[in-house]
């Protein structure tokens, strides 16, 4: 297909001036034509909602596929799917069956945002990323991956996908910040909660396959893996079956303490009690993210409250195995995920031994004015300055965002730490609760469900 004019149909009805839009999109489309020689005709492209105008517009194959794919039910990911997929090929096939649908759902969600929001260049970039990724996966759809050569190429596609979407969060943040006049903070929070949770799952599935690929015998080459996959035998892909949270706390703690020393000149201390020798099965990168964010909050509060002599107390409590055979219903995730609420991963079984980690600091607590907002993505604080041109104010926010995304040494809260940590914790059936003693300190309860017994 040549770079002819295409109109990307948005599902919200809007008065589009065909000529204007065509012209604008022409330039973009030209650069992103896929050069895939193995293209096959998309499946079932006859499925077209009747209200579309047919006259002078045609559809890219991605557009066709999205409505059809999005109508497919989401496979309820279970951890059994992730960890029992030993054979590399079946892992590849499984990943291939999941990803296009998940991407399509994301595209659909983005399409439902107000037009003017998606017109923002940053949001648009993310939208295009998803479209592009889906287009690279679609050609694979009719095929079964039955040999190693195919599998290698598929893994490359996956690696590219993971790489493209690495910076999604800061870019989306920037975009929503710029659009704060056109969309309410509540809507942003709702969209982001859903989107970021889904993103966790999609990346997990992709990274899992990549890690398995590089640690499997035909391709044993872990150092080349673009995603971390240590060679220790306890690892199944990205899951460490013998993850010791105390070690994670210590390493994240020293990292955050270094930042504190850099910014404040003081190095807070911490100690671990409870059962520090506990191990359980979890995804190390997720745990590191959560612990880093929580310790950032605790350390900063402690130092700013002048209590740097009081160490942060971290208690690790392994859940005793349940002796009850009747299934317990887990409390639903703290945010309503709407139509896609089956998106979170079902734990392997209710007997999966988990861990509760309590982080207790003397940082003065969270004031009652701030407490209701700790779970929203930090756009509310900026919306007061509507009169300021977006450049002036958001420079501060943007510099914070870009510092955070490049791993810079800023310790100031982006506002994403808590909600995103909670998304990670809840994804496997756990959760985070925050209890503030205003005037004294804060207690954070991090409950994590393990991957469970693996046969």
């Amino acid at each position: 297909m040549g770079p002819t004019a295409r109109l990307i149909r948005l599902s919200t009805p809007s008065r589009i001036v065909p000529g204007l839009v065509k012209g604008r999109y022409l330039a973009r489309r030209a650069s992103s034509t896929s050069q895939n020689p193995n293209k096959e005709a998309p499946v079932a492209h006859h499925h077209r909602p009747p209200s579309h105008h047919h006259h002078h517009v045609t559809y890219s194959e991605t557009d066709d596929a999205v409505p059809w794919l999005a109508k497919q039910p989401l496979h309820r990911l279970s951890l059994a799917d992730l960890v029992n997929a030993e054979a590399l090929l079946s892992s590849a096939r499984f990943t291939l069956s999941l990803l296009p649908i998940r991407l399509a759902h994301r595209i659909q969600a983005l399409r439902n945002l107000p037009y003017i929001v998606v017109s923002n260049p940053n949001i648009r970039k993310i939208y295009n990323n998803y479209q592009h990724s889906l287009s690279t996966l679609l050609p694979w759809q009719g095929r079964t991956i039955s040999n190693l050569e195919d599998e290698i190429r598929f893994t490359e596609v996956l690696a590219e996908l993971v790489q493209t979407h690495t910076d999604t969060i800061p870019i989306l943040a920037r975009g929503f910040l710029e659009c704060r006049k056109y969309i309410s903070p509540g809507e942003v929070t709702r969209f982001l909660d859903q989107h970021l949770r889904a993103r966790i799952g999609t990346r997990l599935v992709a990274e899992q396959h990549i890690a398995l690929h590089y640690s499997s015998s035909p391709h044993f080459d872990p150092p080349s893996s673009p995603t971390p996959c240590p060679e220790t035998p306890g690892y199944i892909g990205v899951i460490d079956t013998a993850l010791r949270p105390a070690s994670t706390v210590d390493s994240c703690g020293s990292f955050v303490a270094d930042i504190c020393e850099l910014n404040y000149g003081v190095r807070p201390e911490w100690f671990i009690n409870g059962s520090p020798e506990t191990t359980f099965a979890f995804v190390p990168t997720h745990l590191e993210y959560i612990i880093t964010e929580l310790l950032k909050n605790a350390f900063r509060a402690t130092v700013e409250n002048g209590q740097s002599k009081s160490p942060v107390e971290i208690t690790i409590a392994p859940e005793p195995p349940s002796s009850v055979t009747t299934p317990i219903t887990l409390s639903p995730p703290s945010v309503s995920l709407g139509a896609f609420n089956k998106d979170h991963i079902q734990p392997l079984d209710d007997n999966a031994p988990g861990v509760t980690i309590r982080i207790r600091d003397r940082g003065g607590g969270i004031g009652p004015e701030v407490l209701p907002h700790i779970w929203s993505y930090s756009f509310t604080t900026f919306s007061e300055n509507e009169d300021d041109p977006p450049g002036a104010w958001s420079d501060d926010a943007l510099s914070v965002i870009s510092a955070a995304s490049s791993g810079g040494s800023s310790i100031a809260g982006l506002g994403y730490g808590l909600p995103l940590s909670r998304a990670y914790a809840e994804y496997f059936g756990g959760g985070i609760k925050v209890q503030s003693l205003h005037g004294w300190g804060t207690d954070v309860y991090l409950r994590l469900k393990g991957v469970g017994r693996i046969e």
């Binding site: 409590a317 005793p320 317990i328 005037g439 309860y445």
Partner: protein, 376 residues
Amino acid sequence: MQKLPYVVVTNKHFNEVYDLYYTAFDTFRKVREVKNLDDNDRLCATIRTMLNAHLTVIPKLAMGILECNGLKDAAELDKFMNTILRSRISRRVIAEQHLALTETFHAPWFSPGAKLSESDFIGEVFLRCVAKDVVSRCGDAVTSIARRAYGPDIALPEIKIVGHLEANFPYILSHLEYIIGELLRNSVQAVVEKHQKSKNKSAQPPPIEVTICESNQHVIIRISDQGGGIPRESMPYLWSFSKGPASKEILANLGQVPKMAATMQELQIDDINPESNKKIETLHQKYGHQSVQSLSAEEKEREDRAKYSSLASLSSRPPNLRLGMGLPLSRVYAEYWAGSLALHSLEGYGVDAFLQISKLGNKNEQLTTRATMDAV
């Protein structure tokens, strides 16, 4: 109550409660308007009789809820229970406050217009509940009850109090003592039972840490124990009056309470009164009262009133009489005064309970909600 399904109200316990309220309503509406002190005395006598008769309402309601387990949705039963308890609190507070004020008025040592600040009590409301004192008093009471129940050779955990020790606020003392008593009782029991199962029984069990934190608007009391946490099976029923699988056992326990409350009317409550008497005495001495004479009169009145408090009978029950109501009932009391009660469990390790008390008293309460509550 008339709006509950027929089958629920025909339950024996609910029925008794319904009759009690019906009688009360009937009696009160026949009382003439109070125009002078004699009328007031008659009114007080009526109130006092009613309060006595209604002592057993709470356990009866709880039993009714448990027996009606399958008949109505648990969530709705809880909502009903919470509403009726809230309105009960408001009625009893008004009633008891009036009785207290009347008795103070009639007391020989009181003269109208005298400064009330010396006694620190306005009726039932204790103006300067010092958190630390209340906690240590409740702690001692709970410890002595536990000591009596478990025997002399079981090691009991120490209760350590840290934080802003001088924090004080106005509150109704009996409510506060009930809530903190229940929380400490749960903690002590959990710690003792966990410790007994562990290897070194002779060593001192881990202490229970109470942190008091004061800010502009609130006083927060955190009770942190290492009693092994709340088992997963119990979690869904923690704040509910319906107890699921454990209902039968709790029902049997509840059956013993009305007898307790009934007998309390005749005999002195030896268990709790001597201690609370002593403590109140020291309290009053601390705040510099004039003479011991006047104390004993006032103190005696409090003692009499304590007999009429349904909470007192509940607080002095032995620790292994698990009634399953401590937490939800405490929460009703806490939330009634614009506070809150939250629990966080580290399963396998222990529990942290957070009691938040509003310092600003009635300024924090939303008047509209109170109006609807009292309208029930």
